[in-house]
């Protein structure tokens, strides 16, 4: 019984640690769920706390989908994130062209975007380590409309 209470306490402490002191996305030059007519040259992501850039990843992928249903789209985007976020050497498959940010710690992160991207749904995904060593992972989507 005691050990159960201990475990429960430990788990709640761990969860509390996960919830507190995280770095969250606080701004983005391309808004979540927005529809763009032209693709900008870069994407600037702002985080609530500075990140260890060398231990963080940021990617933009095009989502190959035919669905127009919002909930379904989110699931498909989530599946894509699970599949590709940890991939290495995948720059050729990505819609972004890597980081413009060169600092080892930053709270504002600039990502180059490739030229001549096709219309469709894009997924911005990140897994970041804050300087106080907490990990946050999330994604959002936006779309580029055809002219």
């Amino acid at each position: 019984m005691n050990s159960r209470i201990f475990t429960a306490t430990l788990v709640s402490f761990l969860l509390a640690g996960v919830v507190l002191a995280h770095s969250y996305l606080s701004s983005s030059s391309i808004l979540a769920n927005s529809i763009l007519k032209t693709m900008p040259e870069n994407l600037i992501l702002g985080f609530s706390e500075p990140l260890e850039i060398g231990f963080s990843s940021f990617k933009v992928y095009k989502l190959e989908t035919k669905t127009t249903d919002g909930a379904k789209l989110k699931l498909e985007a989530q599946a894509l994130v699970t599949r590709v976020l940890a991939l290495k050497n995948d720059l050729t498959k990505r819609a972004d062209d890597g980081l413009e940010t060169t600092a080892s710690e930053a709270a504002l992160v600039k990502l180059k975007l490739k030229l001549n991207l096709k219309s469709g749904i894009y997924v911005v995904m990140y897994r970041v380590l804050s300087v106080d060593t907490h990990i946050t992972q999330d994604f959002f989507t936006f779309s580029l409309s055809s002219h």
């Binding site: 940010t101 080892s104 709270a107 504002l108 300087v131 106080d132």
Partner: protein, 152 residues
Amino acid sequence: MKKYFVALAGLLTATLASVVLAHATVKSDMGLSESKAGSYETYRLQVPTEKPLDTTEVKLFVPTGLTISTFQALVGFDRSVEKNADGIVTTVTWKGKIGQQEFQRFLFSAKNPVQPTTLLFKVYQTYSDGSVVKWEDEDPKGKTPASRVEIK
């Protein structure tokens, strides 16, 4: 026995020094003037009012290489920051009142530089008559020295 006296004398001097030198100082939350390279540390900036006036503003110039992450919430003070192109805090300004015969502590957490170095914390302290005491002398024996933390 002799060792004990030397230690005691040293302790007394250290205690007296911290009482006599009422400078704007930055120390670790443990009260140390040193910290470990690459580690995450909580610092406290202590600012005393030393004139027959109120202190109205305290501005900290964050040393290069120190990455401030979070601040302690402080009732009665408005905090504003300046950031560089990477979104890293470069200056912090606290506006509020530190009355006569009072001091205030401002706490913040930061990641230390990865390489050993000396951090110089320059602080501008503004009084209610508009006068500014610039704690920025790089000579520790200067009249208004910048506070130092050794990163080891």
